[in-house]
């Protein structure tokens, strides 16, 4: 049975393996060059103190391949679910070959078990190798990534470490289940894609933030967490726009970043400019010719805001939780996969 399963998978497996080899070769050729450019750059910037600028430039240079590889790792599980999972049983049902194989001396349960193990194993291995290669290749980029592209950010998180394997296993089991329920390949593929997409959107938006209780903390305002500060002509007070970044917590996944006024009240929702009661006609925040020329004026103004008691109130998952969250999410998907597999066995025993 293992031979038959392998024989049926061969074509798809060879195609996938070839694509992975191409990816691996490309990454292996470009990876070392990028890593050495990174280490030279770091050595240089540590000497002259321009590391933030180096990070920005370095990341900008490689942003396109960075995003491409991330997308590949994100899409691979969906492809596996669509092209390996959904047709696994429906192809047999549509060609009637299930009647051929079920009438050999093998029970349906064993038939399905072997198919799920062999093809599911191959799916997990493919996703694992792909993620491993990309995680290795993008290590310098992940260290210099701009806010929104750090390891903890939802899209990058899903394309690094061990979770892609769990996604692949889940997508595969989802495809097989959809196939067994719908019994036709194309509708099963559509169902698989729809459900997988929904799960992959719902998971980072509503579930992952709560896999571990997030940390709530307040931070002084500074150039790292303040995006802009200014006043429009028809308003009395200037407004502050905060960034999704925390001073001293590089790489943290910021779930919300709001401005708290001196009494500790939040005056504006996340991402909306919040008014600060500070004079713009006199004092540190008043625009002056000297201030425009350097950064000193902005720093002095922020210091004034801090003195008045304005703080950044942030809810976040610290960067150190990358691996704990990876393992917890892997476990959650593994449970979903097991549940779907159990459903498959139930179905195959019951259905004609």
């Amino acid at each position: 049975m293992i031979w038959l399963t392998w024989r049926q998978l061969r074509g798809a497996a060879v195609t996938t393996a070839a694509a992975l080899v191409v990816l691996a070769v490309v990454l292996a050729l470009t990876g070392p060059g990028m890593a050495s450019a990174y280490s030279t750059g770091i050595t240089a910037c540590v000497r002259d103190g321009g590391c933030p600028h180096f990070f920005d430039r370095f990341f900008d240079d490689y942003e396109a391949p960075f995003q491409a590889t991330t997308v590949i790792v994100l899409v691979l599980p969906a492809l596996i679910g669509l092209f390996w999972g959904a047709p696994l049983v429906t192809r047999e049902l549509e060609a009637g070959t299930h009647l051929l194989v079920w009438n050999q001396s093998i029970t349906r349960t064993r038939w399905l078990a072997v198919k799920l193990t062999v093809v599911g194993g191959a799916a997990v291995a493919a996703a694992g190798l792909c993620s491993l290669a990309v995680t290795w290749w993008s290590a310098p980029l992940d260290r210099s990534a701009a806010p929104g592209f750090t390891l903890m950010d939802p899209l990058v998180f899903g394309a690094r470490g061990v979770v892609p394997m769990a996604y692949a296993a889940f997508a595969f089991a989802l495809g097989v289940t959809a196939g067994l329920v719908v019994r036709r390949t194309l509708p099963a593929m559509a169902v698989t894609l729809a459900v997988f997409a929904v799960v992959q959107i719902v998971m980072p938006l509503t579930v992952r933030p709560h896999l571990l209780p997030p940390v709530t903390s307040s931070f002084q305002l500074g150039p790292e967490n303040v995006d802009s500060f200014g006043k429009s002509n028809d308003e009395e007070f200037p407004r502050v726009v905060l960034q999704s970044a925390l001073p001293g917590h590089t790489g943290a996944w910021v779930l919300s970043s709001r401005l708290a006024d001196p009494s500790g009240r939040v005056t504006a929702p996340d991402g909306v400019p919040a008014a600060v009661r500070v004079s713009m006609t006199s004092g540190p925040c008043a625009p002056s010719p000297q201030a425009r020329e350097g950064a000193g004026g902005m720093d002095a103004c922020l210091a004034e805001l801090n003195r008045l008691g304005y703080r950044q109130l942030a809810v976040y998952q610290p960067f150190e939780r990358f691996w704990p969250l990876q393992w917890i999410e892997t476990g959650a998907y593994a449970l979903l996969t097991l549940a779907l597999t159990a459903l498959c066995f139930q179905w195959i025993r019951r259905r004609p």
């Binding site: 024989r7 070959t97 079920w102």
Partner: protein
């Protein structure tokens, strides 16, 4: 209720390959098979005949264990169908339209059979493929309908089952391929002595090959018995018009048709027919089956309500 002969005609068979008691299967709200009580003795080639949709495939799938019954009991070779790999190994099943893996070669199919069946007869399979002139490297998807059916039959035979079930195996084949398929099947039966249950909606496919017949009409078993016994106990009577009720007690009307002056009956009886008014003629198997499919049809002009079941 079974009309005609229920079960084997006379003697208790030495082995029973299939035993059904009140077997029934429903799809949704439609009964595909009802009140099926059967004892099929071993050592026969059993023809299961009936119009399309009569429940033939359902009965065979129940026997093969691919379908659980809605009601009633079925045992095949003394075991419960699909009662595990050991039971599956004893029953061969060639499904309708003889499916094969289009992407796999003939040799792959033999390897598949060898890997999945404990009693696989590799020599038989190889020899059959050779004799059929099939190229082992040929993809099964490119085989003709007849060759594909032969490949599926080879898988079924090389499994060395005690009972081989074939669901409409020749329905899609041209007359030559049909003949070749049945020749191969009969030759294997002569050589390896296993029981066969073969379904068809055409009696002509079964006339030569089967020595036991089951007629299934409208999801019910109408007739079951050894072909020779069935032919010996059924007669066509033609004579002056007569009401069926006025026939002797031992003569059961299978079908009746009337004109103004003449009546034609197909009857079943164990006794000789003495009435000189009748012209008695023999029935072919096809006539016999058709008579059961028609049932005691009403004469022209009579209300259909009088159709008796």
């Amino acid at each position: 209720m079974i009309r005609g002969l229920a079960g084997p005609v006379s003697e208790e068979p030495m082995t029973t390959v299939l035993r059904a008691r009140g077997l029934a299967r429903k799809y949704g709200r439609r009964w595909a098979l009802r009140d099926c009580t059967l004892d099929i003795p071993g050592g026969h080639v059993v023809g299961l005949v009936g119009p399309n949709g009569a429940g033939k495939t359902t009965l065979l799938k129940l026997a093969g264990g691919q379908l659980p019954p809605t009601a009633g009991d079925i045992t095949v070779l003394g075991g419960r169908p699909a009662g595990g790999a050991a039971q599956l190994a004893r029953i061969g099943f060639v499904a309708q339209d003889t499916p094969v893996y289009a992407g796999l070669s003939v040799a792959d199919h033999l390897r598949l059979g060898a890997g999945l069946n404990p009693r696989w007869d590799a020599a038989l399979a190889r020899e059959r493929v050779e004799r059929l002139g099939l190229d082992p490297a040929h993809r099964a998807g490119r085989l003709s309908g007849g060759q594909r059916a032969q490949l599926a039959l080879t898988l079924g035979l090389a499994k060395r089952p005690e009972l081989l079930i074939l669901d409409e195996p020749v329905a899609a084949l041209d007359p030559l391929a049909r003949r070749e398929f049945l020749q191969g099947l009969m030759e294997a039966v002569a050589e390896h002595e296993f029981s066969v249950v073969l379904s068809s909606h055409l009696v002509s496919d079964l006339e030569r090959t089967c020595d036991y017949l089951i007629v299934l009409v409208d999801s019910r078993v109408q007739l079951a018995g050894q072909v020779d016994d069935l032919l010996a106990t059924h007669h066509r009577l033609t004579g002056p018009r007569r009401d069926p009720d006025r026939l002797p007690a031992g003569q059961h009307v299978v079908s009746a048709s009337h004109t103004d002056r003449q009546s034609t009956f197909v009857i079943r009886t164990e006794d000789p027919i003495h009435d000189p008014a009748w012209t008695v003629s023999r029935l072919t198997l096809e006539d016999l089956v058709l008579a059961y499919m028609e049932g005691p049809a009403p004469a022209k002009g009579r209300p259909v309500l009088e159709v008796r079941r």
